[in-house]
């Protein structure tokens, strides 16, 4: 059959010859798909009692990735990766938006031969801050990110820049890294300027405890600047929804800890994974209140923070269940005198959410998930949310990080 198709036209013969040749020496795993090509298909059904566009109380000037209601095709994630030459490896992840259009989620080059524990990465990559930030959506343990990631990182910080990591030659895992980048996503602002728009430093330590337990702890610091960042529908002291403009410095510290346990260290049968992360961001600068009418500018600074803790338990092969608790603190803003009567300084409310999930994986490549959440992130608007989700992986399936 193959041969017959191939003999149809001269061009086809040439083309098929090279395909056959490639197939013949596909001795090595990576060569079987060179480059390695993968596609993630995902979709969900969401049932919400409240409008997902309403932001968490006290976070109207932060992003609100929200949720989709009803039947919804998720982003199809296309991944291509391969060694470029003996020095470099390249990887790209393209997200196909169900509404049309393609966005570049990741597109980076990393070195493979610097040695001495050094790894250099450049292009667009998920920042190394925190624990969850580097994980792709298909590897998340819940259908959504923790609240603290949603409001402080717009789910995930992907940066255009350069990352350098160094792993110490010690018995225990100890790694430090730094990034400089454009600052293109929230909390930065994409600006046309020379130099760097954002910087990150991070450190990780980790080890095993016997054969059954392992852990990793990390700390990170992120700095950037927001310029003329417009926020709409921000509540004010008069009970109106106004549009504000903020410019100022942003500094975020983060702490993360992951601990995993598996009987005999065999994750195939049963395992438990517990993780927690904390982020605290200080923003200080100038706020212009109500750009449409009053337009009053004065100083503004606020420290927002949030954390989550979650546990996922694989209680038998193929079946996992997880529980997560989220909490945010909008902080008390220090507002210049000119805006003291306009801008809300203290919301006196801590958004929280409790989420439970159950998922089933027929194989390593397919997963179905049911998720229920009781969301108290919006004061006086408690929301019970239900999600059903599928995640399927085709083609080359790269190894996952810890």
């Amino acid at each position: 059959m193959f041969k017959r198709i191939c003999s149809n036209a001269a061009i086809a013969v040439l083309l098929c010859h090279s395909i056959q040749a490639a197939a013949a020496d596909s001795g090595n795993a990576d060569n079987a798909f060179n480059p390695a090509f993968s596609l993630i298909l995902s979709g969900s059904y969401g049932n919400l009692q409240r409008d997902p566009a309403i932001p968490a109380t006290g976070f109207a000037m932060n992003p609100n990735p929200g949720h989709e209601q009803g039947f919804n095709l998720g982003e199809s994630e296309m991944g291509i990766s391969a060694n470029i030459d003996p020095q470099f490896r390249g990887a790209a992840t393209l997200a196909l938006d169900p509404a049309g259009g393609v966005s570049v989620e990741n597109a980076f080059v990393q070195t493979t031969s610097l040695g001495d524990g050094l790894n250099l990465k450049f292009g667009r990559y998920f920042s190394g801050l925190g624990y969850l930030n580097e994980q792709h959506a298909h590897a998340w343990d819940f259908t959504d990110q923790p609240l603290v990631y949603a409001v402080l990182w717009e789910n995930q910080l992907a940066e255009d820049g350069v990352q350098l990591k160094w792993l110490a030659p010690t018995e225990m895992f100890f790694e430090i890294g730094g990034e400089v980048g454009k600052g293109r996503g929230f909390p930065g602002t994409e600006r046309a300027k020379n130099g760097s728009g954002a910087g990150v430093i991070f450190a990780h330590i980790g080890d095993d405890i016997g054969i059954e337990q392992s852990w990793r702890a990390g700390a990170s610091l992120h700095r950037t600047r927001r310029v003329d960042a417009e926020s709409t529908d921000v509540p004010d002291l008069g009970g109106n929804a106004v549009t504000n403009l903020f410019s100022g410095d942003s500094q975020t510290v983060g702490l993360d800890l992951v601990w995993k346990y598996a009987p005999n260290g065999n994750i195939k049968d049963r395992y438990l994974k517990v993780q927690t992360e904390y982020f605290r961001r200080k923003e200080s600068g100038e706020l212009t209140y109500d750009t449409a009418l009053a337009s009053v500018t004065d100083s503004y600074s606020v420290t927002q923070s949030g954390w989550y803790v979650q546990g996922v338990y694989q209680f038998m092969p193929r079946w996992r269940s997880g529980l997560r608790y989220d909490r945010l603190d909008p902080g008390v803003a220090r507002i210049g005198a000119a805006n003291a009567g306009n801008v809300i300084a203290d919301y006196a409310y801590n958004p929280t959410r409790t989420t439970w999930m159950l998922d089933y994986s027929a194989s390593e490549f397919s997963r179905f998930r049911l998720q229920l959440a009781h969301d108290n992130s919006r004061q006086g608007l408690a929301d019970n949310q239900l999600f059903v989700q599928y995640i399927m992986s085709l083609g080359a399936h790269g190894a996952h990080t810890y």
Partner: protein
């Protein structure tokens, strides 16, 4: 800064007196390297006998160990594809990257079985280069040992004579053991068996076992109740003597079929450390054959 560098260099010097730092993916290769290198190598074993080698996480501890390795000794043939690529990439160690001198795949030294003629995930977790569980045929250790000794000599030429001597001694002992094992295993020839995972083609090929059914419907998929009853039907037509599983596998599917089909459920050590008897490579096969002979009774 100087102080930190100084203490780091102290740490480096004090940490390791052996010539070669070796990262072995599985216990059988750690044991083989021990045979061939003796005190010339400091060996770290990345996985244990009760862990499924397909399903290991790229833990921080593994990355730290790979960072310091001079040589990585693994099965290859995609057995470690779910974790080793990340471990090696994150290690920042240019010596042990695939294709380099510090990266050794045992599978490249042996003849592979069950090389798929078509690649389709519908067939389950199939490895493109063939079945990677090569360590269940004792004969495979001879070509792997020769290739591994060659690599050790290449990386540490100053101890070449010792590696050569150790290889010769190992080959002699191993050949003698092979003769003994093959004699002991003579009653196993042609015996029909069921396997839980397709992890024993090399063992069956070596000892002449006949695999009549597999408890996993497809490689890597957990046996379902429906499939197990199908296997039971198969066993009525083609009776088997025993059902084999590796020490790291869940015993329930084997026990289920063993009870219903009235055959023996045999747990094999599968690698060094998989049973009390499998303390080293010789013990691994002594115990494997003893367990098989007991199962066939």
């Amino acid at each position: 800064m100087k102080k930190i560098l100084f203490s780091l260099s102290l740490l480096l010097m004090s940490g390791n007196v052996a010539a070669l730092n070796i990262f072995a993916c599985e216990p059988e290769w750690a044991a083989l390297t021990q045979q061939l290198a003796g005190g010339k190598a400091d060996i770290y074993t990345a996985t244990a006998a009760l862990q499924d080698p397909h399903r290991i996480e790229a833990r921080p501890s593994l990355i730290a160990k790979a960072r310091r390795a001079d040589l990585v000794v693994c099965t290859g043939a995609e057995l470690e594809m779910a974790w080793l690529p990340v471990v090696l990439r994150e290690s920042g160690n240019s010596k042990v990257q695939p294709g380099g001198d510090g990266y050794f795949e045992a599978a490249s030294a042996v003849r592979m079985l069950e090389v798929p003629t078509r690649l389709d995930r519908g067939d389950g977790d199939v490895h493109t280069q063939g079945n990677p569980h090569i360590q269940t045929d004792a004969r495979n250790f001879l070509p792997v040992a020769a290739a591994l000794a060659q690599r050790l000599m290449q990386l540490d030429p100053s101890n070449k004579a010792e590696y050569q001597q150790r290889l010769a001694a190992f080959e002699q002992q191993w050949r003698a053991a092979l003769t003994r094992w093959e004699q002991q295993a003579a009653p196993l020839k042609g015996v029909a068996v069921v396997v839980q995972h397709r992890g024993f083609p090399y063992l069956s090929n070596w000892l002449g076992l006949q695999e009549v059914a597999t408890l996993e419907p497809k490689p890597g998929l957990e046996p379902s109740a429906g499939w197990l009853s199908q296997v039971q039907d198969t066993l009525r037509q083609h009776p088997a003597k025993m059902v084999l599983r590796a020490a790291y596998q869940d015993g329930r599917p084997s026990e289920w079929i063993a009870q219903r089909a009235h055959i023996a459920a045999v747990e094999l050590p599968y690698t060094v450390g998989g049973s009390d008897g499998a303390r080293d490579l010789f013990g691994l096969f002594d115990d494997t054959i003893a367990r098989l002979l007991k199962g066939v009774q």
